[in-house]
Amino acid sequence: MDFSFNEQQTMFRDMVRDFAAREIAPLAAQMDRDADMPETLIQKLREGGFFGLTFPEGLGGLGVDTTTYGLVVEELSAVSAGVAVMICVHNSVGSYPIAMFGSDELKARVLPRMAAGEIAAFCVSEAGAGSDAAALTTAAARDGDQYVLTGSKMWVTNGSRARYYVVLARTPGSVGHDSVHAFLVERDAPGLSVAKKEDKMGLRCSDTCVVELDAVRIPVANRLGEEGDGFKVAMKALDGGRIGIAFQALGIGRACLEASVRYAGQRIAFGEKLWHIPTVRDKFADMAARLHAARLTALHAAWLKDQGRPHTKEAAMAKLLATEAAGHVADEAVQIHGGFGYTKDYDVERYYRDVRVTRIYEGTSEIQRLVIARSVIKELG
């Protein structure tokens, strides 16, 4: 086993760390307050190649491996989890279905534009279909060489900034997994509208929207995979997505630990730095240990994916462990900061809000446990 990063991985990590410190960090608190992200920053992210991270070099992307991708997401998240989730969704669930299941013509037309920074989004959840994704009701009615999509999608990250939407919909009146299909829908398709932007606890600079589809007509060529492959497309995409969210949580967690150690080195209580108080040191130990264990799990899942090996269970474990560890670490970071941690003058207040969603989206912790348990029983039962 080799636990070292290769040259490319180290280089990307360091470059992104510099970029994030220079271009994103000064804006992060303001973006959270405004619940917005300046277009100038998005443009810099485009120029930096962030929207093409996982796309093949031949299509204008950077073609990085999953480990590098994870390290990039971790670095972005340590500064702004909202920026990170935009990049994550674009590079994983928003584009992966096209790369994996799109026709050659579709890939050739769309992927280079995505890699250049035309933003992608992923539309699965609905008001009545969250953890139970198969309960989705958005209809895809076949009409000659077109489908007509009608329904309402919720919790769409990048909802208002996206140019491309991967949409899951089903044969009208059907139930179950087998009649769900996946499609690529473009922003200018008549009938597609972005209804409202959610007012959220955290990740406030990332736009989470309701996307309405009112008899949106798309060519059959925009179907991803065969008829009935939709659920498979979504689940495959989410396997990769979960690795990204694990690294997002790890980035927030690392920022929490760094902020706490820094604060405790300056804060004096009972005549000494908090560094010297045993219970504070114990907190640091647990925070660091939990993050480290989760990070190894996430790196392992990324490695499996790059090896082309099955990684559904490991990706779910990585997401579960990393998001729960980061939740714990953020909570302790607020506690170490005391009253200051409850105010917006300190970044940990934002981290605490941002990290909470990582246990919810792209599969709640409860869903990760279902996925893991299913694998464990299959292997050992």
Binding site: S125, G128, A129, G130, S131, D132, A135, M154, W155, E198, D199, K200, M201, G202, I268, A269, F270, T279, G327, D331, V334, Q335, G338, G339, G341, Y342, T343, K344, D345, E349, Y352, R353, R356, V357, R359, I360, Y361, T364, S365, E366, R369
Partner: protein, 379 residues
């Protein structure tokens, strides 16, 4: 043992619940968003006797017991945790030390209007460099004839920007350490007093948390509260009772989050049935309910001990430690049960989650409660 509430306690709880549901619940989300102090509702709370609940009637209070105070605090906080802390500070941290340590003249001048809710109070202990280490007071008090002159800064002062009367702790002689600390009653109309800034907070956003400056504030000597050098004892004994108030606030937040989660679990359908049918959700509800009930018993026991005139410091610390950590746990699980909806400001659990987090920080962090409890057990 008798776990039953008296007729009067039930009536007080009902009155608080009615008020909270009618006057607070409909506005709490907006006050949170806009950081708006619920001035009109605080005035009404005073008229109902909720701002001086435990103060004897002769001093303008309602003369109720601590158990009733816990019940009322819980109901108010379940609807609006910000209003809960405004109420807790006035009752526990301002009225109580005035009643306990004040002279007759101080009681008539300050306690009566505070207990009636005609004036609002605040408690000024924390400083930028004195949090959990509260004895490290940098605010100074210098005697000048028949006045004391106060200089310094106070931090994280609940009600700070709206208060009329402050209980202020200050150091008279650093060489004496905590024995040099005195307590004073200070009017905010005093010259040299200023509200420097209001904190932008994660939660309890309708309650103002202010940084206050004392720049040569002259306080008449007869507004010294308690004996010479007794300031730290006044501060600590006051916090013993304050902790019952914050435990009750945590109970209210926990109750609101638990009730919201139960009702959501019964109506939200996934996989063809209400999510309440899933064992994973049932066990969450079971753990949430158990921690809530245990918190409630600890808090009521601390209150009952205080009512009986027994020592209650350790029990109050235990109640605060357990109820506050349970409130965060319960609110966190409520968010999880709500899924994405729990992350959205359209559902109240998003606010409960943010509000709950402060309860294990202020009026003594969980770490400070553990110091108190261990101090009792290892004595």
């Amino acid at each position: 043992m008798n776990f039953a509430l008296t007729e009067q306690q039930r009536m007080i709880r009902q009155a608080a619940r009615d008020f909270a549901q009618k006057e607070l619940a409909p506005h709490a989300a907006r006050w949170d968003r806009d950081e708006e102090f619920p001035a009109a509702q605080v005035k009404k709370l005073g008229e109902l006797g909720f701002l001086g609940m435990n103060v004897p009637e002769q001093y303008g209070g309602a003369g109720f017991d601590m158990v009733s105070y816990v019940l009322a605090m819980e109901e108010i906080s379940a609807a609006c945790a910000s209003t809960g802390v405004i109420m807790s500070v006035n009752n526990s941290l301002v009225c109580w030390p005035l009643e306990t340590y004040g002279t007759e003249a101080q009681k008539l001048k300050f306690l009566v209007p505070l207990a009636r809710g005609e004036l609002l109070g605040a408690y000024c202990l924390s400083e930028p460099n004195a949090g959990t280490d509260a004895a490290n007071q940098q605010t100074t008090a210098r005697r000048d004839g028949d006045h004391w002159v106060l200089n310094g800064m106070k931090n994280f002062i609940t009600n700070g920007a709206h208060a009329d009367v402050l209980i202020v702790f200050a150091q008279t002689d650093p060489a004496l350490k905590h024995k040099g600390i005195f307590a004073f009653i200070v009017e905010t109309k005093s010259e040299g007093f200023a509200v420097i800034s209001k904190e932008k907070k994660l939660g309890i956003r309708a309650s103002d948390t202010a940084q206050l400056a004392f720049d040569g504030v002259r306080v008449p000597a007869d507004q010294q509260l308690g004996a010479d050098g007794a300031g730290f004892r006044v501060a600590m004994s006051t916090l013993d009772g304050g902790r019952i108030g914050i435990a009750s606030q945590a109970l209210g937040i926990a109750k609101a989050a638990l009730e919201a989660a139960v009702s959501y679990a019964k109506t939200r359908e996934q996989f063809g049935q209400p999510i309440a049918r899933f064992q994973a959700i049932q066990w969450k509800i079971a753990d949430m309910a158990t921690r809530y009930e245990a918190s409630r018993l600890l808090t009521l026991r601390a209150a009952a001990l205080k009512d009986a005139g027994e020592p209650y410091g350790e029990q109050a610390a235990m109640a605060k430690l357990f109820a506050s950590e349970s409130a965060s746990y319960i609110a966190e699980e409520a968010v999880q049960i709500f899924g994405g909806n729990g992350y959205s400001k359209e559902y109240p659990v998003e606010r409960h989650f943010r509000d709950a987090r402060i309860t294990s920080i202020y009026e003594g962090t969980s770490e400070a409660q553990r110091m108190v409890i261990a101090g009792h057990r290892l004595r």
